[in-house]
Structures are given as C-alpha cells and as structure tokens.
C-alpha cells in the first residue's frame, strides 16, 4: 500500500462502481462515498424507511487486551468501564487533565480482558501515555478491521436472515460475535443515525464477501448503499456530535475558548460519578458542582418566521438538501449568545434543525432565540426554539 494519495477501504471494489456522481468524501485519510446517487434523498430515505449500508471503515480502532485493559480504559474515558459487562458497548468521550474533550467513541467489552475502542481521531499515543504501569497490550487495528454500518427499520430482519444466531436478542449498545453465512464478525447494536441499526466489524480479508452478502440479503428489504451526506442528516436528527464540526478536540485547539467539556457538549450523563480516578476527573467534578458556562442544544427554526423573511424578497424558503457545517451566530435580543455548528432540513420531520452552542442562561428548552440566515445575499435573523436532542428518537432504536 502506497503512502501517497488517498487510501481506499476494503469495500472499495464494491462501492466504487456504484458511486454514480464520483462524489467521495475524505475521512481520516480514506475516501468513502459521499453519495452513491446524484441526489442523496433516497439514501436518506433508506436510513429512515428501509435499510442503509454505510462504509465506516475509516474509524480508528484499537484493541486493548490484558489484565489491565479495563483499568487503562477506565483511566482514559469518562464512563465507568469496570462496570461494563462482557458484550456491552459504551459511548463515551475522553478528556485532557483539564476536563476538556479530546475525542469521543465507543468502548466494546469483547471479553473480561478484551476491549475495542473506536475513535474519530488517532489515539494510539494517548493510550500509551496513560498505560504507564498498566499491564495492557494496545493494538492498532485501524487498518486490519473493516466496518459496515447497517442502519434502518429493516436492519434487524436483514441481519437475522444471514446470522448464525438470533440477532433479535441483541439489545441496544450490546455486542456479540457471530458468523454471517460463515463470515466471522463482531456485531454491535450501534450506529450514527439514531435508528435501529448495527455496526459490523470484519477482518479486511472477508470485507468484500460481507458486502456482497448483506447487499444480497438486503435487496428484498429495500437496502441501499448509502453515503456520508445522507448519514450526516440522520446524525443531526439524532443529535449526535461530530468532532471537528460540532467541537474541536482539546488536543488541536489553539486557544482555550475552542475547547469544550463533556458538560458543555450535553454529555454530562457520560461523566461517571463515584468512579476511580480518570483523566480530567477533578476538573469535571468541579464543573459538575460549579456549573458550566456553555451548553449544547438543538434548535428548531420557526418556519413562519423563515417563510416571512423569504417572502420579503418574493421567494419561497430555499434550503440546501445537504447538512451544513458553517458556524452560524445565534442571537437573543440583538446580542450574540451562541453559535450553531451544524444544521439541516429534516426530510422526515419536515423541520429545519440545527445543533448549537449556547450560553447556559439561554439554553433552557423552550427559549426563543434568533439564528442568522442569509437570504439573497443579505443577513437576516429567523426565530428558533431551543429544544432537547435527539430531535428524532424512534422506539425501534432501543426496542
């Protein structure tokens, strides 16, 4: 494998012929499909209506094994890893010593002393730095393990038709080893869409066979290979954070104000109380008691207000069909009180949504604020209401 140019995933031989518009997106040094079709609406509809198959191989994957594996992860992440049972998956951020978020991902307990950590940025050095004196092997599996995300209401039925075990018993945020028509995989009931779904972890050598199997099994259920543009809309509806977009890793921040704590990202629930010492604990406990100055919330843009602004120039509202990720000022009574970091028109909810950092005093659900919108080259402000996330949370996700 050459070190120059873009890297492709083990699914590339299958995905590339399907990407009609040559729309690729770079992700952690790889290219993966941004959209297969010229317009990604049906791919989005597959996530919410049938099933979508998404190549998520570029995630960083670390295998942590040994007697001290649990201790190492417990020291790094904010959630209580020691309490996780075998077969359990934890979503968690991890922080620097000042309690500012470095990254977020999942910890899967594959065995008593066997874990997989996924992350958006590389964390090998950070893991080693925290492993001093701990008996744990850290293995970077990023390039050896490929991953597919199978998301949507039909995901369970499709997976069930090829699995050697009853996947309907696999609960939300649980993992199991399985064989899919003989292909050994790890299944996790996880995803980045807020829908019923699974992520399937497979060795590179069986990646193509896995793709072919799932496409064939999914076809009668309306499965569509789906790109990142559609997933981006779904993750905003699900209120799920995206690093580099919704927050900046404390590792990369150039100034203090670019950093965020878990509390400031609406991830306070992931900061375990009464847990053994972990990186950032002292700062986080102080913030828990003393309060945070920022909050992360959903915004629903008031349609009548937006429509009226467009009507001023004689136009019906015109919104992009893809999610945006341009920092956008939020106001209250003429004063800027925050900024939205991603937003999209939700084709399902028929609402214009955004995710925003807000000063704590403006973050109570129901608060009315204003969001900047550019209409015919002019900056205007439309009303928006602060809401809890997720915007969309179907029962099937957990059922």
């Amino acid at each position: 494998m050459t070190s120059l140019g873009t890297r492709t995933t083990p699914f590339h031989s299958r995905t590339a012929p399907l990407v009609r518009g040559h729309a690729w997106r770079r992700w952690a040094g790889y290219v993966v499909p941004a959209a297969y079709d010229l317009i990604h609406d049906l791919e989005y509809a597959a996530i919410r209506g049938t099933a979508a198959l998404i190549d998520v191989t570029p995630l960083f994957k670390y295998r942590i094994r040994g007697a001290g594996a649990a201790a190492l992860l417990d020291r790094v992440v904010t959630r209580d890893v020691r309490r996780a049972k075998t077969g359990q998956v934890l979503y968690t951020p991890w922080c620097d010593p000042d309690g500012k978020v470095l990254d977020d991902g999942t910890v899967t307990r594959l065995g008593e002393d066997d874990f997989r950590l996924t992350s958006a940025h590389p964390n090998l050095r950070w893991l080693h730095q925290n492993a001093v004196g701990i008996d744990a092997d850290i293995d970077d599996e990023s390039e050896a393990v490929a991953a597919l995300s199978l998301q949507g209401p039909a995901a369970r039925e499709i997976l069930g038709s090829v699995a050697d075990r009853d996947v309907s018993k696999l609960r939300f945020f649980r993992a199991t080893q399985a064989r899919l028509e003989g292909i050994p995989v790890t299944l996790t009931r996880t995803g980045y869409t807020g829908d019923l779904g699974y992520e399937i972890w497979v060795g590179n050598d069986r990646a193509e066979a896995l793709w072919d199997l799932l496409v064939a099994a999914g076809n009668p259920h309306g499965l569509l290979p789906t790109g990142l543009l559609a997933m981006d809309v779904a993750r905003i509806e699900a209120g799920l954070l995206l690093i580099d977009v919704d927050y900046i890793s404390a590792r990369l921040a150039l100034i203090e104000t670019q950093k965020s704590s878990p509390f400031e990202l609406n991830l306070g629930w992931t900061v375990a109380k009464e847990k053994r010492p972990f990186v950032g604990q002292r700062a986080l406990e102080a913030e828990r008691n003393g309060g945070s100055s920022w909050a992360f919330r959903g915004l629903v843009v008031d349609w009548d207000s937006l429509e009226a602004l467009y009507a001023e120039v004689g136009l019906p509202p015109q919104l992009p069909s893809a999610a945006w990720r341009t920092s956008t000022p939020i106001f209250d009574g003429g004063r800027q009180v925050g900024y939205a970091t991603s937003g999209c028109w939700s084709p399902l909810l028929k609402k214009y949504l955004a995710l925003a950092h807000l000063g704590s005093v403006h973050a109570a659900p129901g608060t009315e604020v204003e969001i900047e919108v550019t209409i015919e080259h002019r900056r205007k402000r439309a009303l928006a209401t602060v809401t809890e996330t997720p915007f969309f949370d179907p029962e099937r996700k957990r059922a």
């Binding site: 317009i39 609406d41 039909a154 009668p220 019906p316 084709p347 028929k350």
Partner: protein
C-alpha cells in the same frame, strides 16, 4: 380512568376522509369537542391502504401524496404521528417504438435525456419549468384563502377582491399573459408553444387531464398542468412522493393527530342525515336511527351529498340546489391494483433500475391520449388507456411479501356513465384492456400477476361514497374552481344552514390529498364561533 362523555359535541364531522380528519384535528386543536363519524371500518375515504390479498397491501384509490399543505403537516406535526413521505424522483414513459422518455432527480441528467429526443426541448424544458414555478408562486396564495364572492358587495368580499386584484396587477406582464393562456388553452396547444417532441408533450399533457372528463385538446386543461407545479414551489417539502404505508398512512397520521388533540374518531358509523331545527343544523341521525347532537356539523362529503342527500334540499335556496344539481362529477378514471411475483420488465429499459422507483406512465403521444378520450366520449372505457403507475413496494418493501411487489395503476378513461353501465363482465374487460396495454410495454406482466383488483368509477362511488366516482369530489375544471366551487356565495365552506359547514374536496381549493379544504372549513367554524 373515567372519561366524561359529553352529551353534546361542539362539532360533528361527517366522513373520515383526509379533509374531514384535518378539519376535526384543527377544531380539536382549538379546544373543541369533536367527533368524526366514518361509515367504513377504516378512516381515509379515498386515501386508504388495505390488505386486499394476504401479504399485499394496496393504496386502493389515491396512490401518491402530491399537495398536502406544508402548514398542515407543521400545525398537526404529522411526522410525529407517522407521516413519512419518500420522494418519487423520476418519471419513465415507455414508447411504442421501443424507446422511452424519462426525467430524473438530477436536472442535468434530465436535460441529457430530453436532448436525445429534441435538443431544443431540452433547453425549453428548463425555461418552461421556471415559468410554471413563477406562475405557481403567483397562484399559490389563492390556495390558502377562502375565495371571495365577486358578485357580492359585502365589505369582506370587496376587500378580498381588491387584494386579489392587486396581487394579479403586481405580476409582470409576461406572467399575466402566461396566466391567461393557462386559464384558456388546452394543455396540448399550450405545450405545443414550448415543445416539439411528441413524447414530451404527451407526458406533460397527461397531468392536465387526470381526474377530469376532458382530453388533452380540451380548452381549460392547461390550467391543471399548473396544479402539478404547486407542490414544487414548496421546495424542501418535496411534495411529490409516496407515503410509507401508502396513502392510508397519511390518513392514519392525521387521525392520530386529531386524537392527540382530543377528537374522537368513530368508524362503522354511517350518518343517515343531518338533524335540522329551523334554519340550524343541530346534529346528525345515524344509520341505526340514533341521534347525536352538536353545535356544528361539518360535511366532508361531496357537494351532491352535502346539499341534496344529508339535508332536505327544500330547506335550501333554490339557486344553490340547482347549482349543485348542475355541478359536474362524471368520474372518468379507474384503478387496477396488481400483486406481482416479479417486477415488470420494460422492453424499453430492461431489468431492475431506478426508473422502477418513480412514476411510470403509458402516455406515448397526444393523439393516443385524445383517442383514449374519444372512446370515453362515446361512453366506452378506453381500449388503449392512459396509465399512471407506481410500484409502492419499490419504495416501501413492507407493502408486499419479501421479493414480491404491488403495482398501482391509475387508469383513464373509464366513464362513470358507461353505455350499459358497469357490471362484473365490463369490469373484467376493463381490467383486461389495462393489462393488455401494459403488456405491450412490459410483456412479462401477464405471467407476473398473482392477483388483480379492478376498480371502476362505479366501485369508487360504492366504496368511498364519492358521487359518480369522481376522485376530486367534483370535477377539477375551471368552471368549478375558486369562487365557483361548489357554488358562488357558498364557496367559503359555509352553507345557508347555520351551524352546517362543508369541508370535502368539492370545496375550494379541493383535489388531491391537499387537506386545505378541511383546514379552511375549520377556520370558518372557529371564526364564526358556532362551535
């Protein structure tokens, strides 16, 4: 939990079609005690999904969601009640010479496709679309208001007429001319001013005849073209689509919203007539003779049933009665719903492809459509009819068992007043004509059919109650629109009887799963303070 059952209702809505449900939901949202009475065991009227054959769910009558008003989706938060519309992105029209004409989601792909047929049309198509969009923007405000009566001197009507006059004066000269042409021309003539490709003219003019007893060369059909662009200006709302679960799921979502606001929806509850005391509607009499009283009664049925059957016509002004008697229904279309063992394989574009996820039509030429109309004029169903098809299972596989499919075929023309009327033999002959027509383009269709449901206008009338099987609750012709729908002076969803309102598709703006009539009627009830 004990529930206080009110002895009288604020409002009773007759008919649980989508407009009746929208009306009930808005009334309940405004705090009124509302009861919806539906004759059938399920709500929806002509927007129902039924498992006609085991495992195969059909959108029995209406089959796409076109014009459902965005403000209704928002006000009632229908997505939270299960509404999920998947866009129909393409159109595919196979042609007799083995070629096809398609439009795709991507405008550049569409341009290249049209270029194959006519390079000039490929350019014109973009400009035509823009003009229609501007026209639709000009006409759209009318959909959201109750039409004023131009013959009235009431200040309310004068003011509204004045506003409308200004609205049209503000249009550019070009737009105004185009609008007048749209109002007066046939769709064939209008399209000929723009396009040279026969296949394109036919494909476009087909949308001007749906649900009318008119042909593409009949004056007035150009305006109906415009109706199809109304949805497009709502931009992100992407109005053209297929509702997951079929159109019945749209009705269910509205019913669910109505219930969430406290409305009660009763099925298997046929209304015999409206109870009138003096000049006031005070309730309804059910089929079993039981009386239910309410301050307001809203009819979701068509004008003929609303004015000539539910109440005593003698209690109404003679001019209204005669206007309604003359109101044209003359249903012109039928449906054929197929359960398929495999997908249709079109000779023009064989195999599986994106064209099977969009709308598919048999409308190869304007002559073809006009000939189909000629048959209907003589009182026969078209031997080679216009077919407008979707394959719902391609967008929502739960509509059929895995690997199998359902196909919804809207057929025109099938005149309600067929020579000799409709019976089992003529219904089957009609179904055969449809399958024969389709088989000319997709020869495998005959062997793929597992089950077939054929619906004539007489069946539409018998099942849904729509007079003469007209899918719009009264023909959507210029002479029956706006302040003429259903009759001048009574186009504002009120009636001469106090406490009696109308909210069906036979009222302004009417037609399609729009819901605007239901909303406007609810507004009228609330404004009058009668409920």
């Amino acid at each position: 939990m004990t529930v206080q059952i009110p002895r009288t209702w604020d409002a009773i809505v007759i008919g649980g079609g989508h407009n009746g449900l929208v009306c009930a939901a808005y009334l309940a949202r405004a705090g009124r005690k509302v009861l919806v009475l539906e004759r059938r065991p399920l709500v929806g009227g002509a927007a129902v999904t039924e498992e006609v054959f085991p495992g195969f769910r059909f959108t029995v009558f209406s089959y796409v969601v076109s014009l459902l008003r965005p403000e209704i989706i928002r006000d009632l938060d229908l997505p939270a009640h299960g509404l999920n519309v998947v866009p129909l992105e393409s159109t595919f029209n196979p042609l007799p010479d083995g070629d096809y004409l398609a439009t795709w989601a991507d405008p550049e792909e569409t341009r290249r496709e049209l270029y194959r047929h006519s390079p000039r049309d490929a350019d014109a198509y973009v400009e035509f679309g823009r003009l229609m969009q501007r026209m639709a923007m000009a006409v759209k405000p009318i959909l959201g208001i109750s039409p004023p009566d131009p013959g009235s001197w009431r200040p309310k009507d004068l003011l509204a007429m004045g506003r409308l006059g200004k609205h049209f004066r503000d249009l550019g000269e070009k737009e105004l001319h185009a609008l007048v042409k749209l109002m007066t021309m046939s769709s064939a003539d209008y399209l000929s001013e723009w396009f040279e490709s026969e296949a394109l003219k036919a494909a476009k003019s087909a949308s001007g005849i749906i649900g009318t007893f008119l042909g593409p060369r009949s004056p007035g059909t150009a305006y109906v073209l415009l109706h199809h662009y109304m949805g497009e200006i709502d931009g992100v709302f992407r109005a053209w689509g297929f509702a997951r679960g079929g159109t019945g799921a749209v009705s269910e979502s509205i019913a669910s919203a109505a219930r969430s606001f406290g409305a009660e929806v009763r099925t298997d509850a046929a209304v015999e007539r409206v109870l009138v005391e003096g000049d006031r509607a005070v309730g309804v009499v059910l089929g079993d003779g039981k009386e239910l009283r309410a301050k307001t009664v809203v009819s979701g049925l068509d004008p003929r049933r609303t004015f000539l059957e539910l109440v005593e016509p003698a209690s109404l002004p003679e001019e209204l009665v005669s206007a309604v008697e003359r109101f044209r229904f003359r249903g012109s279309s039928g449906k054929v719903n197929l359960a398929l063992s495999e997908l249709p394989n079109f000779t023009a574009l064989p195999g599986m492809g994106p064209h099977l996820k969009g709308a598919i039509a048999i409308a190869p030429s304007v002559d073809y459509l006009e000939r189909a109309y000629d048959d209907a004029k003589r009182g026969e169903f078209s031997r080679r009819p216009f077919l407008d098809m979707v394959i719902p299972s391609m967008l929502d596989p739960t509509m059929a068992p895995p690997g199998k499919h359902v196909m919804s075929i809207f057929v025109q023309y099938a005149p309600y007043h067929r020579n000799g009327g409709w019976d089992d033999a003529s219904r089957e002959a009609f179904g055969d004509a449809v399958v024969d027509t389709l088989a000319e383009y997709a020869p495998n269709i005959r062997s793929a059919i597992l089950h077939r449901q054929v619906i004539t206008p007489a069946d539409i009338e018998a099942v849904t109650g729509l007079s003469e099987g007209n899918i719009f609750g009264g023909e959507l012709a210029l002479s029956q629109l706006f302040f003429l729908r259903p009759s001048p002076a009574w186009s504002d969803h009120r009636t001469p009887l106090r406490g009696y309102y109308q909210c069906g598709s036979g009222t302004h703006p009417g037609g399609g799963i729009m819901g605007a009539s239901g909303r406007l009627a609810a507004n009228a009830v609330i404004a009058d303070g009668t409920a």
